[in-house]
């Protein structure tokens, strides 16, 4: 039951429109700083573009996808009309307003501070206010997900919450709490300085606040993808979820351990104590656990599909999988990229290995592979899967869809593998141009060229994606039926209350944040003399 299709479509269309815009900027950036581009006579343009690319891809695009998908899950998994539709629209328009408010100063070159803010660099205050509005808009969604689940619970006392909704609400709580770090940084530190009320800022404290957001935000981006792994893929390829409770445990683990690990982004920072760095490093290792569990459960689930389709043998069953099904294809690509990206993540996790690649192009390669690759390709798959239910029209370009997914996968590999490599060679991030003519870095030129070509493959794929969706708006009508989620092999009739509610895990998440972040934040905030003069960018 999808009653509010317009609402969901609005979120998806806005998400993919801004995605297309930011993707174009990204491809241009790859090109302009590569040996095939010419050096920019105004390097600020590069940083301006980078700020726009990061702000859209980090804050706006995945948030809108999670929101639109979340509304769809709430209506179809709970089989209940969305409660608070007006609020949902208010949240949507807040995001529109916030995005515009942030983009204007960026476009004017008044906020080229990158989406990670980097105080004491300070840009125009409206940039930060715009980001705050986007976050506030998304918090409305968080509240609505919680309210809708509560309404459903009242009507179905004691019944197991459908897995998709359980995970969706877990994701929304994770986002609500993880956004608090950046919100504190913006509201307490940056905005007062950008508005001229203060002129010093503690850059070290700001980095700690941001690390609170910066890592768990990735798991928020990941949530729709994992929900698709568990609740869409098995259904789409004719299988079953291997284990409902294991799925719940994975999402719970994400909720608990995605948060208190952000300081692995500050391993090389001088303002964080070595003890906290170790604790965060250990918890970062833990976050591999839900992913390992997921890989197992999903592989088992698709094996079930393959065997139901007559697959035989130890590995022979893989041949029986429906490889021409876009969902199967997307899942396989996503897993491959998740595997490589995850292996890279394990390297970043340890202080010792991180030291050789921290803030090099390796890191950019890593998160593009995980986010742009493993996560976004499943966003595509989600859109393809939902589209007929949202538009009432059939997606007829199956061949185009397959090509698009293939291109995205190839493009991402061609882009990020050389990116990782030049990172190992020590190529720093976020530079508008490099002198590849110098013999010392000339060996990096070829890899960077490959990356730039990969960028254009990705752009092509992105355009194809939007074309498929746009054509889907005018395709022949079809009755797609109700939108359903995969069911488990042993569909639970009762679920322990701890695996059916979030309270315990949210409490653990908050407590762990306090133990792992409380002291460093408190001590930096109360130490005299750590604030430094703000440096206003573009102040001529």
């Amino acid at each position: 039951m999808l009653a509010n299709r317009k609402l969901i479509l609005a979120h998806f269309w806005l998400a993919f429109a801004v995605f297309g815009f930011a993707l174009t900027l990204g491809a241009w950036q790859m090109f302009i700083r590569s040996p095939i581009g010419t050096w920019l006579s105004n390097p600020e343009l590069y940083y301006r573009s980078l700020t726009a690319h990061g702000t859209v891809m980090g804050y706006v695009f995945p948030t809108l996808v999670a929101m639109g998908f979340g509304y769809a899950i709430s209506e179809s998994a709970l089989e209940q009309r969305l409660v608070g539709v007006r609020w949902a629209w208010a949240g949507f328009w807040l995001i529109v307003a916030g995005s515009i408010m942030a983009m204007v100063p960026i476009a004017l070159g008044r906020a080229s501070v990158l989406y990670t803010f980097y105080p004491p660099l300070i840009g125009n205050v409206f940039y930060y206010l715009g980001v705050v509005l986007v976050v506030v808009g998304s918090w409305i969604w968080v509240a609505l997900m919680s309210v809708n689940l509560r309404v459903w619970r009242k009507a179905h006392p004691g019944a197991p919450v459908p897995l998709a909704m359980f995970a969706n609400v877990a994701g929304s709580y994770l986002w609500a709490w993880t956004a608090v770090g950046a919100a504190l940084e913006l509201l307490l530190q940056i905005i007062p300085v950008a508005a001229g009320l203060k002129n010093t800022i503690d850059a070290g404290l700001a980095r700690v606040f941001f690390s609170w957001t910066l890592h768990a935000i990735v798991y928020f981006w990941l949530m729709p993808t994992y929900i698709a792994y568990y609740t869409i893929v098995p259904r789409a390829i004719g299988g079953r979820v291997y284990s409902d409770s294991m799925a719940r445990i994975s999402f719970i683990l994400f909720l608990v351990v995605a948060m208190p690990i952000g300081m692995h982004h500050t391993f090389a920072d001088p303002q964080v104590g070595a003890g906290f760095k170790f604790v965060h490093s250990a918890f970062t290792a833990l976050v591999a656990l839900p992913t390992l569990l997921t890989v197992f459960t999903i592989c088992a689930s698709i094996e079930i599909a393959a065997r139901l389709r007559g697959g035989r043998g130890m590995f022979g069953w893989t041949r029986a999988l429906p490889w021409d099904n876009p969902m199967m294809l997307a899942l396989a690509f996503s897993f491959v990229m998740l595997g490589f990206g995850g292996a890279g993540g394990l390297i970043n996790m340890s202080y010792q290995l991180d030291a050789s690649i921290h803030n090099t192009q390796w890191i950019t390669g890593h998160f593009h592979l995980i986010f742009g690759g493993a996560i976004v390709i499943m966003y595509f798959a989600i859109a393809y899967d939902l589209w007929p239910h949202l538009t009432g029209r059939e997606l007829i370009d199956i061949r185009l869809i397959r090509t698009q997914l293939w291109l995205w996968f190839i493009g991402m590999i061609v882009t990020t593998f050389p990116w990782h490599w030049v990172g190992i060679l020590g190529m720093p991030r976020r530079m508008a141009y490099f002198d590849f003519g110098d013999p010392a870095i000339a060996p990096q030129a070829l890899s960077v060229t490959f990356s730039a070509i990969g960028g254009f493959i990705l752009l092509t794929s992105g355009i194809m994606f939007i074309v498929v969706l746009a054509r889907g708006m005018r395709a022949p009508l079809v009755d797609a039926g109700p939108y359903r989620f995969a069911i488990a092999v042993h569909q639970p009739t009762t679920v322990p209350v701890a695996l059916n509610t979030h309270a315990l895990w949210v409490a653990l998440m908050i407590v762990l944040t306090l133990t792992n972040y409380g002291y460093p934040i408190l001590t930096l905030a109360t130490t005299e003399g750590t604030s430094v003069p703000a440096v206003y960018v573009g102040a001529q």
């Binding site: 070290g204 980095r207 001088p270 070595a274 020590g426 141009y433 042993h490 430094v532």
Partner: protein, 187 residues
């Protein structure tokens, strides 16, 4: 499927699951132990202390005044390098150090966030204004290394590249006899 069958298959599924979860936990714990072990035995640990300093006054007094920037041979044979990052250069712009010697790099920023990364090594630290970064290093190979700023520090970031010159231990000792702080600026 009878209810008994169903019950058995649930049990099997749960057992396989538990087995896999155990393997996953072992992998995770193993990695964490490996990291701790490597940290101690390869001497790559985060700096032990958090030290603060006022970035707009570092040129007036304290260890980062201009006459103290550069490399100095300590009484115990170790070398200390002091450097600062600022928009858009490192001072000294060329750091000279001896090979096969324990070196302590102490650095800070005079304005915004910068980073020091010595290519081809695992020397890599942020320079956050207000705080002092400290890193241990040891070079086994003489030669020239590039030292780009690895963090966005505003619009001249792409031009912020320093150098490190690793020279023979005895050469360094000879140069250090003259006293003062050594660098390879202008060479």
């Amino acid at each position: 499927m009878s209810s008994e069958d169903a019950h058995r298959s649930v049990e099997i599924a749960a057992r396989v699951e538990r087995r896999w979860a155990t393997i996953a936990v072992i992998i995770v714990v193993g990695m964490a132990l490996l990291a701790a072990f490597a940290g101690i035995h390869r001497a790559t640990m985060p700096q032990p202390r958090v030290e603060i300093t006022d970035p707009s006054r570092i040129h007036l007094s304290g260890e980062f005044v201009e006459s103290n920037l550069g490399s100095v041979l300590e009484a115990n044979g170790n070398v200390t390098v002091r450097a600062i990052g600022q928009q858009y250069s490192f001072t000294p712009a060329c750091i000279v150090v001896p090979a096969d010697t324990p070196i302590t790099l102490r650095a800070t920023s005079a304005d915004v966030v910068h980073g020091i990364l010595i290519q081809g090594t695992n020397v890599n630290t942020m320079l956050v204004p207000g705080y002092v970064s400290e890193q241990l290093m040891r070079f086994t190979r003489t030669g020239d290394y590039l030292m780009p700023c690895q963090e966005f520090c505003s619009f001249g970031h792409e031009g912020m590249w320093g150098k490190v010159k690793v020279i023979d231990k005895t050469d360094f000792a000879n140069r250090a006899k003259a006293g003062g702080r050594l660098s390879c600026v202008g060479q």
